[in-house]
Symmetry: D2
Subunit: 167 residues, 4 copies
């Protein structure tokens, strides 16, 4: 099962700590971590995952696999620029957003469009037509984020299998 | 000058009317309309533009140019699925968002990330870390939207030229 | 109808002359020219088309619309790097290849995969499993290239319409 | 180190056997296998790799991770259609082509354009301007293919590191 962890390439020490805990917990639960492969939140989640012998995939925007942070096991080199954000999100059965700026917002939007569950830790809030959109599942801790992500990813996986069969 | 107009492929009659007016006004100002090429807001803006002899470009997600609405002059066929949203936005010097769902939100996010001005008509509101993000320039009418879009697109065009020269 | 003209961003004077003639003839036949938007063959075909009041679309690999050559009417900015080659080809009902290196070869391959006719002027020859692949329609002059391209593009357009209806 | 193995989604029994051997040998040499994730050559190389406890990555064109063949460890879901071919190739330090049709040809072209070594087993032959292009390194056996791929991939890795440092 792939869980995407998204957030900024530069982040606060608190966000980095949170991301590292998320990485540790996901690795302990046996999930493969998918991220954008660069610094900040992406680096922290990979570092956490590797400290617990997890597997990490970095979907890179540029042209060189060595742009990946040192805790990426499998660099995927796209050369697609920001369009790689789509690939990060579509490759996962659930997404955990930690903080984040406009790049993260584009990933949240893609996930919600596709029906992939998004769990948010101190991230964007959305409203439209004067009404709050509560599609992002807001949580307060790394433990809560990972618990929700794993259980929703299982459900998503089953949905994916069913939708393939019905084609 | 290219102005992107973004919004849902199914929309309310009010949004369609708004989009049609935006198309008319942009065509009268000589802007090329770039959109996602499908129905709803995209179709309405193209119809409006063609009624004033404007030029319309539809950046399609699928594989067949005939998926474009009948008012698209130039269908660009990407086969990229939702990743085509990046192309819609990057091809413009300003973006007008009318209503919209998660696809539109991804386009707003990409535009803001790249520094392309976004003018909003009854669209998403964003906040993060408990603070409102006022990057979307909110307006109340088609006239106001087009006026802002044209003047900001000129500034953006100059910025693009300058940033190319300084490379 | 869109015709893609593909070839290198640096080319010989003979190739440039050929591309310019192709652009002139396509414009006179009312086809919209789609290309990669940069120099060499792409620039020459656009220059030719504009000398006969044609319409030119440049699908750019980079992030800045001002990277387009001066004869591109409509710059489409993808930021996708070489993956933009797919978009150039899919947007056309026929492809004319003039000379060209590996980028051009990738475009020829995409077109043949999708069943879009490819007309070649002094371009790649392919063989596999020791047998020549004659899918590229080889011609000797700009006039012949444009004649073939227009007639095959019409057939392709009809096929696209039919395949959409049968869905 | 990532090695891409490319070829058709339907292939002859001989090609499947060859691909399976390539997968076994790559896994024994510790390389991560990157492929397009579907059937035919892609499935055979993954099956071979898993029989020797290798690691396999499938870069999928569609929208559903369950489209991957059963021997893909890490499905990367792009939704990009054929544009995902670029990602398969860019993610590798060397490419082994087995047989293959136009999709494979597009991948060969992208690799050669980017300077990534391509080793060919019964695959395309190229010539242009009446001259053979010998950029594809032709070999006769799985052992030879893997030997060449590993040694050239090491050199490519060093080149990537050097080109990053010189930026």
């Amino acid at each position: 099962m792939n869980i995407a962890v998204i957030g900024d390439s530069s982040c606060s020490p608190e966000e980095a700590k949170l991301a590292e805990s998320v990485g540790e917990l996901l690795a302990q639960r046996g999930a493969t971590i998918v991220c954008g492969g660069l610094g900040g939140v992406m680096e922290a989640v990979c570092r956490g995952a590797k400290s617990k012998a997890g597997l990490t995939v970095g979907i890179l925007p540029g042209e060189n696999s060595n742009m990946a942070n040192p805790w990426v096991d499998i660099p995927v080199v796209t050369g697609l620029g920001e369009a790689r954000n789509v690939v990060v999100v579509k490759s996962a059965q659930a997404v955990i957003a930690i903080g984040g700026s406009y790049g993260t917002l584009s990933e949240i939007a893609y996930a919600l469009k596709k029906g992939i569950p998004v769990i948010g830790l101190n991230t964007w809030s959305l409203s439209r037509h004067e009404r709050e959109d509560d599609s992002i599942i807001k949580v307060q801790s790394a433990t809560e984020a990972v618990g929700k992500a794993i259980s929703l990813a299982k459900r998503r996986k089953n949905y994916e299998i069913a939708s393939l069969r019905s084609q």
